[in-house]
């Protein structure tokens, strides 16, 4: 479904990598801080331009697309730090997420999000700046789902959340997975990520150093000691 082979400029964090995601797969991208994970998602989402190489999505070359074109092609990104619009209400944030779909479909998607995220429904008309970290993360994910993406990417969804909320985020990922959605997720919490991922890539200093199924990689303790830097707890 998604294929990425690319080379990045000397200043950028990621160099020579290739990565693929199949339809209905949950793929993790793990690695220590500064490994280039965010750069990589940013490139796939169109925020950054690859210096060479291609991004292919559903058989089409989408390299160099602007973020809005990427979204219209079917790729959505839940950015690092959530980046919700704090001055806009919860429902307005969701509407912005669904800005590319027709208005009838947008309102049925709003109903869908209200069912999926009861916490948000209760705060529909509250400015999003008043949400707690966990609520804000749910809003960021719901907002991305509003565009009906065929590939949903998340950048560090559990970052900065209390342990109980980290559980909530991974339950959410699990339930999105059960719905058959295709996910590409960057996570520092390697163990938790590998538990829910079908496959994962380990990125370090801009290079892919391992690839395998979640269970395979979980058993490779060497990876955690050497590459992930002991963040496996």
């Amino acid at each position: 479904m998604l294929g990425l082979t690319t080379k990045y400029g000397s200043i950028s964090a990621v160099r020579d990598v290739s990565l693929s995601v199949g339809e209905g797969e949950v793929v993790g991208l793990i690695g220590p801080n500064g490994a280039g994970k965010t750069t990589m998602l940013g490139t796939i989402a169109g925020l950054l331009e690859p210096t060479s190489g291609t991004v292919r999505f559903e058989g089409n070359d989408v390299s160099g697309y602007s973020p809005d074109k990427m979204l219209k092609a079917g790729l959505a990104l839940v950015p690092e730090h959530r980046r919700i619009f704090t001055d806009l209400t919860v429902v307005e944030n969701l509407k912005v997420g669904g800005i590319t779909v027709g208005s009838a479909e947008r309102s049925s998607l709003l109903d869908e999000m209200a069912d999926l995220f009861p916490v948000l429904r209760e705060k529909w008309d509250t400015p999003a700046g008043y949400l707690s970290g966990g609520e804000a993360q749910q809003l960021a994910i719901a907002r991305a789902l509003m565009s009906k993406p065929r590939l949903l990417m998340m950048d560090e969804p559990s970052l900065g959340l209390a342990p109980v909320l980290v559980d909530l985020v991974f339950e959410l990922i699990q339930s999105l997975r059960d719905q058959g959605r295709t996910l590409l997720i960057v996570e520092q919490n390697a163990t938790r990520m590998l538990q829910v991922a079908d496959r994962a890539y380990v990125l370090r200093s801009g290079e892919m150093v391992a690839e395998g199924s979640g269970t395979e990689l979980l058993e490779r303790s060497d990876l955690f000691d050497t590459f992930v830097g002991g963040t496996s707890s």
């Binding site: 925020l47 602007s66 973020p67 809005d68 979204l71 219209k72 950015p79 980046r83 619009f85 800005i99």
Partner: protein
């Protein structure tokens, strides 16, 4: 007391025009971080078009809506020819570009139609007044305030109730994330310039009615008022821009009438001194905006 009420009405009339101009500056600043010193040129261009139409025998009734259309088109053309080229550049580059456009437009008019002031007649009703008890109210002030209220309400509806308004507010809050949501940066920036142009056009109608003339340097005064009002209100805040415009108008009128004798000539200087004081105590302006830093 009577005089003060009268001054207040005059000041709100004048301030309404400033408010519409400042709101246009704030809308563009919101999405692009551009403090547009070329904003007054929308009135210069509209003024010359109005002058040409008056020479053809057109009446204010027909010219007024056309002024708004011309301001919108001019705003979009300036965006396309100049600001689109420096999009994403530093704030300083953007400000310098807008200054460049300001001087360029003046120069184009000096070279093509000459530096002399072109006059046209004001609408007949502009000096009419009516009495409310002891207070003499200018019809012009009432019209300006009324149209401004309607325009502001329409702007609120556009910003709050339409998808375009939502896109504009999202882009102003966090441009990159708005793009990730599928918002086309070209469309939202052009939309902001169109809205800014429409607001300047409506303000421009009243500005030109009052001035009764246009010249290559006509844009300077509205530009200064617009930028000042936006700064007073708190740059980036739409509400602040409106408050800033009204405050500036009232301050000017009240000072001009209350300062004793010769000192009235110093109104502008006193206004600037007051603004300087405001910035010492509130450098962020009346309403502060704390948005994520733009990349």
């Amino acid at each position: 007391m009577t005089e003060l009420v009268q001054n207040l009405i005059d000041g709100l009339g004048r301030g309404s025009i400033y408010a519409l101009l400042a709101l246009g500056v704030a809308v563009v600043f919101g999405v692009m971080h551009l403090l547009n010193f070329a904003h007054g040129e929308l009135i210069t261009v509209s003024g010359y078009v109005a002058y040409a139409l008056f020479n053809q025998g057109w009446s204010w009734f027909l010219v007024a809506p056309l002024i708004v259309v011309v301001a919108i088109i001019t705003s979009l053309v300036i965006e396309r020819l100049a600001f689109s080229l420096v999009r994403g550049a530093s704030d300083f580059t953007l400000v310098l570009t807008s200054f460049g456009i300001h001087f360029l437009v003046s120069a184009i008019f000096i070279m093509s139609v000459g530096a002399r002031v072109k006059t046209f007649s004001e609408p007949g009703w502009i000096a009419n007044t009516f009495a409310v008890g002891p207070i003499n109210v200018e019809v012009f002030d009432v019209v300006v305030i009324g149209v401004t209220i309607v325009t502001l309400l329409a702007t609120v509806v556009i910003l709050q109730k339409t998808m375009f308004g939502l896109a504009l507010r999202a882009a102003a809050a966090d441009f990159d994330t708005a793009r990730l949501m599928g918002i086309d940066s070209n469309k939202v920036i052009r939309g902001a310039f169109a809205l800014s142009g429409a607001l300047a056009g409506i303000a421009g109608v009243f500005w030109l009615m009052r001035a009764g003339n246009t010249a290559p340097s006509s844009g300077i005064s509205p530009m200064i008022k617009a930028v000042l009002a936006a700064l007073i209100g708190g740059l980036g805040s739409l509400k602040g821009a409106v408050i800033g415009g009204l405050a500036l108008g009232v301050a000017e009128v009240v000072l001009r009438s209350q300062l004793p004798g010769e000192a009235a000539a110093l109104t502008e200087a006193v206004v600037f001194a007051m603004i300087a004081l405001l910035f010492i105590f509130r450098p962020q302006g009346i309403i502060s905006v704390s948005h994520a830093e733009r990349v």
